[in-house]
């Protein structure tokens, strides 16, 4: 197996402890939880997506494990501005604030609360299951560009996270690039649902949800590959990563780093697990393999 050099990673304006970042919304409700994931080996962490108003989220069931993945419709629960308190003790750590909103102005408003302290923002333009939020916005290049501009104006590294549920993800990636994004995160969950045949109704409280975990890995990989051709921004691969091999494969598709979410389901120590086989003293520089499958 190919291994990589250990050491701090600089990507999209943010310095991470390693290439493995905790994905937004997974164990990110509290600062303590983010701190735990950093202690457990995450190279950086993304918070739960924070919006302009507190939200309780959808009624349950909110998350159902499937064979090879998770199906969720949390409904973007978040404490809004109160979240500032969660992360004050993590000021020196690579904590990236995930933001969602219904308009560019809302994105800007949330960003303003964190502008003094955040090391970086990630724009959730992609949540596929929150009415009026998320994917509706993330599928329109003009809005993607406007939201990115609004937040990038704070002069803090701004990552834009894309939905795979669009006809052409390259177009959306280019819109983020034009809006001033410093990196692209690809991807959020894939639209899906399941029905309880015994109860004759969708199993999620919200009926629809998003699929994550290994079953979306080949979909996410393809998005990263497409974006590597379409954009010149660094890409952070996300979707189904659960092994060191997956990390290498994402990098060969074009990712400079990865995010990991659902894999904590099987093992909360997944970051250490992956790092143990990913890094070695005689490892390659990531640069040597990022995008090499395009040759």
């Amino acid at each position: 197996m190919i291994t990589l050099q250990k050491g701090p990673v600089h990507i999209g304006g943010i310095t991470l402890h390693n290439h493995l970042i905790l994905a937004a919304g997974v164990l990110g409700t509290t600062g303590a939880s983010l701190g735990r994931m950093l202690r457990l080996g995450a190279g950086g962490v993304v918070t739960k997506s924070i919006g302009p108003e507190p939200k309780a989220g959808h009624s349950g069931p909110c998350l159902i494990p499937l064979n090879g993945g998770l199906l969720n419709a949390m409904g973007l629960p978040n404490p809004s501005r109160d979240y500032l308190d969660e992360i004050t003790h993590l000021r020196d750590e690579p904590v990236i604030i995930s933001i969602f909103g219904g308009t560019p102005e809302e994105f800007g408003e949330v960003a303003s609360w964190f502008a003094d302290t955040a090391v970086g923002f990630e724009l959730n333009l992609s949540c596929p299951h929150a009415e009026g939020y998320g994917a509706a916005i993330g599928a329109d290049p003009a809005i993607v560009r406007a939201c990115t501009e609004e937040v990038a104006a704070y002069g803090i590294p701004t990552w834009v996270k894309l939905t795979p549920n669009v006809t052409d993800i390259g177009v959306i990636g280019r819109a983020a690039e034009e809006g001033g994004a410093s990196a692209i995160v690809a991807v959020n969950t894939v639209r899906g649902m399941r029905i309880s045949i015994d109860l004759r109704r969708p199993v999620l409280g919200n009926r629809f949800g998003g699929i994550s975990g290994p079953m979306i890995f080949p979909i996410a990989l393809r998005c990263v590959y497409d974006l590597y051709d379409a954009c010149s921004l660094p890409i952070i691969g996300c979707g189904g990563v659960s092994s060191a091999e997956d990390v290498i494969e994402m990098m060969m598709a074009g990712a400079s780093a990865v995010q990991i979410g659902s894999a904590v389901y099987d093992d909360i120590a997944i970051f250490e697990q992956i790092a143990a086989s990913l890094y070695a003293d005689d490892g390659l520089a990531a640069d040597e393999i990022v995008g090499c499958a395009h040759a």
Partner: protein
């Protein structure tokens, strides 16, 4: 990741325990360890965590919308169950169980297994006492009611202070209102035996399987659904336990 779709069960029996608490028996037993819980899906309403009061029952107190739906179920109705989840209790040696209100539910399987020596059961008033009759046959049962309508007049902590030598027990399993549990933790801590306490915590849960983070507790980020719901006293000393918790949005609130 493996199929974790809710198992749809049919209600086989409904037992009125108290004016606000009902036990619901399914047609399907689960393979549980005492203290484990499930996510109960009241179709069209919500999915909420519930301890197993036996392999095929939950015991529900009506407090809001979802529990109202569950306590209104009739025999033959169907609901979805995901679980069992969580660690459950780790009984060892002489065991004292302390329950407040519906907190008796997850402790009952311990008593049913015959491993509880002394069981302290507290409730607001006599008619809210749950499982008192069977418990009397399974353990040395001590009862406390806030209003003195049965047993000791006062809180369970009162019984403990007056009648119980905590340090004579190897394991003290506790479930009930958080302030009650905090009172017991303080006493164990004072006696230098916080580690013997096993507390079944309640926190807002969305996924139940350790992914979403909504049940994480400060300051270590332990997940009540996966790392718990049962924690030893020393795990939760100097934590948010007894001080605050979070609501569905993640905002802090008093316990």
């Amino acid at each position: 990741m493996h199929d974790g779709m809710p198992v749809v069960v049919t209600v086989r029996e409904i037992i009125d325990e108290t004016p606000t608490i009902r036990t619901i028996r399914f047609d399907h037993p689960f393979s549980i360890r005492p203290g484990q819980f499930c996510m109960v899906w009241a179709p069209g309403v919500d999915e909420i965590p519930m301890g197993y009061s036996s392999p095929d029952t939950i015991t529900v107190q009506r407090v809001g919308e979802a529990t109202a739906a569950l306590t209104s179920l009739a025999v033959g109705d169907r609901l979805g169950i995901r679980g069992p989840f969580g660690n459950g209790f780790s009984p060892e040696g002489r065991l004292l169980a302390i329950a407040g209100g519906v907190g008796v539910a997850p402790l009952y399987p311990l008593a049913a297994a015959g491993v509880v020596e002394t069981f302290i059961l507290g409730a607001r008033t006599a008619e809210e006492l749950t499982f008192a009759t069977p418990l009397a046959a399974l353990a040395d049962l001590r009862i406390a009611t806030d209003d003195g309508t049965a047993g000791y007049h006062g809180f369970v902590t009162g019984i403990i202070d007056e009648e119980i030598d905590l340090s004579s027990y190897d394991t003290i399993c506790v479930c009930g209102p958080e302030m009650m549990m905090k009172g017991i933790l303080d006493r164990l801590d004072a006696a230098g035996i916080a580690g013997r306490g096993q507390f079944s915590l309640h926190r807002y849960m969305k996924c139940g399987v350790g992914v979403c983070g909504s049940c994480s507790i400060d300051p270590d980020g332990l997940r009540v659904c996966k790392d718990g719901p049962v924690f030893t006293g020393d795990q939760i000393l100097n934590s948010e336990f007894g001080v605050y918790s979070r609501d569905a949005s993640g905002r802090k609130k008093r316990p």
